[in-house]
């Protein structure tokens, strides 16, 4: 098994609604999508965002879009208009997600520009 950061195999965008931060995580192909579906679980996400989000994590796989929809509850200090954070809208949460490391099966063809962080 090798470990990769999500930034090397997927892309993501995040936004806000009230105190929720929502993220879309997108795989370039079906094989990578299958790996994301297996590895990026609500438990993993909750651990990764423990310092930012206090509430439960919701996750919706969308096979038609090769994408995972992730919702972090209690993530924005009560909401953008009352938050003291610079990133009050949660725009950078997607970047934070892309830093998550997951296990990659050896038979997965990694995109050409992937940077494997640990062999």
């Amino acid at each position: 098994m090798t470990r990769v950061r999500l930034v090397d195999i997927a892309h993501a965008r995040s936004g806000d609604k009230g105190d929720r931060c929502d993220l879309g995580l997108f795989a370039p192909d079906a094989a990578t999508y299958a790996v994301l579906k297996r590895e990026v679980t609500p438990e993993r996400i909750a651990r990764h965002f423990a310092g930012m989000a206090s509430g439960p994590v919701a996750l919706y796989p969308l096979d038609n879009l090769l994408a995972l929809k992730i919702v972090l509850n209690g993530a924005l200090q009560g909401g953008a208009a009352r938050s003291l954070r610079s990133d009050n809208l949660g725009k950078c949460a997607a970047a934070a997600l892309l830093r998550m490391e997951i296990e990659l099966p050896p038979d997965l063809v990694i995109p050409a520009n992937a940077g494997i962080v640990r062999p």
């Binding site: 929502d22 930012m52 919702v71 009352r82």
Partner: protein, 460 residues
């Protein structure tokens, strides 16, 4: 086969309208839907209106339309804009005055009735508790601090405005996507219970409502074909949808513009600010994104089809805003060596000073610009000792404005008497008002009878 071409206008209050001119000139659009109201924007407009009662609409409206109208008139393009904010009639008056001065003729419709702030008690008397949608808390806790409350209206009043012959439709709060769904209903005559077609129109609206985010802007990808490969962001073309009567749409952009419309840029926008993608609520229909099909046709064209819809909800979403105190902020920078260490020592000194001076804040928040201000607890600390520079940014929350404004005054002495290399202090700006948002639900029959559409023609 008839198609309708709708272009994206602004994606927020403060966005650029240069790409809209390109869509009108070269994109063959018939309608522009322009979304000026993020969830936060009514809070900004409420602050304006408290200073000046004639304000409360987004001030980009008049310069935007005075720039675009001659072009739009030449190409027969109509506008739907929620730039009316908290004061659609004030927005219309300002626009009518400006068009009148220039001798321009236009039919301007105004949609009102979304504001329910004056009817909070009446709504509760009619059986709506107005509890917080997410937490279930009672509105009693914020009732005295409410500053605005607006229902998200659907496409129907906008359709009525178009049927009345409006060239420009000005509304306050409507569902963002309704600005795009309305011209489709108007052109194709979709029935109010044709859920799949309405869902298709909602999909189109959702893909257009964030301007350049639907055509390669803010494209957060670092793979091959990632953000750096998106051409000419400086001249980005906002997305345009070419929609057929069955709801199938081709997403594209004007020829000769920058940006990119492909499977990746479109799906990033599709899921943006969506929670349950199988139940994406709007006042007009509930969309299931799980059946959508995106086909990349190449050449900046993506075909979107397969939307399925379920009946619209019985209640409308209302978002109220309430006074949630004041924020005071100060920023001070330090250079290498030990930039982070100096900033942390300063933070500790300031916190101690606040205790000694008995300046009691509801919350103290510290960030280190250049280190963790954007990623927060998820910042990587690998290079923390060697950062070239770090700015300590501290913010406090206080119920009292003067207490918030006292905060940055605790900093200037640090320039000569604190850790070395302090530079770039800022904190003289006035305290910033904080607003809490209160989402809740209200029965349609308590809001919709109050919705009015009025038409005014400017006289040259």
């Amino acid at each position: 086969m008839k198609t309708v071409r709708i272009g994206a206008g602004l994606g927020f209050y403060g966005d650029s309208w240069r790409p809209v001119a390109a869509s009108i000139e070269r994109g063959s659009v018939q309608y522009i839907g322009s979304d000026h109201l993020a969830e936060l924007t009514l809070a900004i407009l409420q602050k304006d209106r408290m200073k000046e009662p004639a304000a409360g609409y987004t001030r980009d409206l008049v310069p935007m339309l005075t720039t675009l109208w001659p072009l739009a008139q030449k190409h027969g393009v109509k506008f739907l804009l929620n730039a009316g904010g908290l004061n659609p009639e004030g927005a219309r008056d300002a626009l009518v005055a400006e068009f009148g001065k220039r001798g321009w003729k236009a039919k301007i419709a105004t949609v009102t009735g979304d504001a329910v702030i004056g009817r909070i008690d009446a709504l509760r008397a009619a059986g709506e508790p107005l509890d917080h949608l997410d937490t279930g808390a009672s509105i009693d806790g914020v009732r005295e601090r409410l500053l605005f409350a607006n229902a998200y209206l659907g496409a129907q009043p906008l359709v009525r405005a178009l049927e009345a012959g409006a060239d420009i439709v000005l509304s306050g709060r409507v569902a963002d996507a309704a600005l795009f769904l309305a011209p489709l209903i108007h052109e194709f005559g979709w029935a109010a219970d044709d859920w799949d077609r309405l869902a298709a129109g909602l999909t189109v609206g959702h893909l257009l409502e964030c301007s350049g985010q639907g055509s390669g802007g803010n494209f957060n990808s670092y793979l091959q074909n990632g953000w750096e490969s998106v051409p000419d962001l400086g001249h980005i073309g906002y997305p345009i949808a070419e929609v057929s009567a069955d709801g199938t749409a081709i997403l594209t952009k004007a020829p000769g513009t920058g940006g990119r419309v492909d499977f990746d840029t479109v799906r990033q926008q599709l899921l943006y600010e969506v929670h349950n993608p199988h139940a994406y609520f709007s006042p007009d229909v509930v969309l299931d994104m799980g059946t959508l099909k995106l086909e990349d046709l190449g050449g900046d064209r993506v075909r979107v089809s397969g939307a399925t819809g379920r009946p619209r909800p019985d209640k409308l979403k209302v978002v109220a805003g309430y006074d949630d105190g004041w924020a005071g902020t100060a920023t001070i920078g330090y250079s290498w060596p030990g930039a982070m260490r100096k900033a942390r020592v300063t933070e500790a000194i300031v916190r101690r000073q606040l205790e000694e001076l008995k300046l009691a804040y509801d919350e103290i928040h510290a960030e280190f610009l250049g280190y963790d201000s954007l990623l927060g607890a998820l910042a990587d600390n690998t290079h923390i000792e060697e950062l070239n520079e770090v700015y300590l940014k501290m913010s406090v929350r206080a119920k009292d404005r003067r207490l918030a404004e006292a905060f940055p005054r605790q900093f200037p002495w640090l320039a000569l008497s604190g850790p070395p290399t302090a530079s770039g202090f800022s904190g003289i700006e006035p305290a910033r008002q904080l607003l809490g948002l209160w989402p809740t639900l209200v029965r349609r029959d308590l809001v919709e009878p109050e919705v009015k559409v009025s038409l005014q023609e400017t006289a040259p």
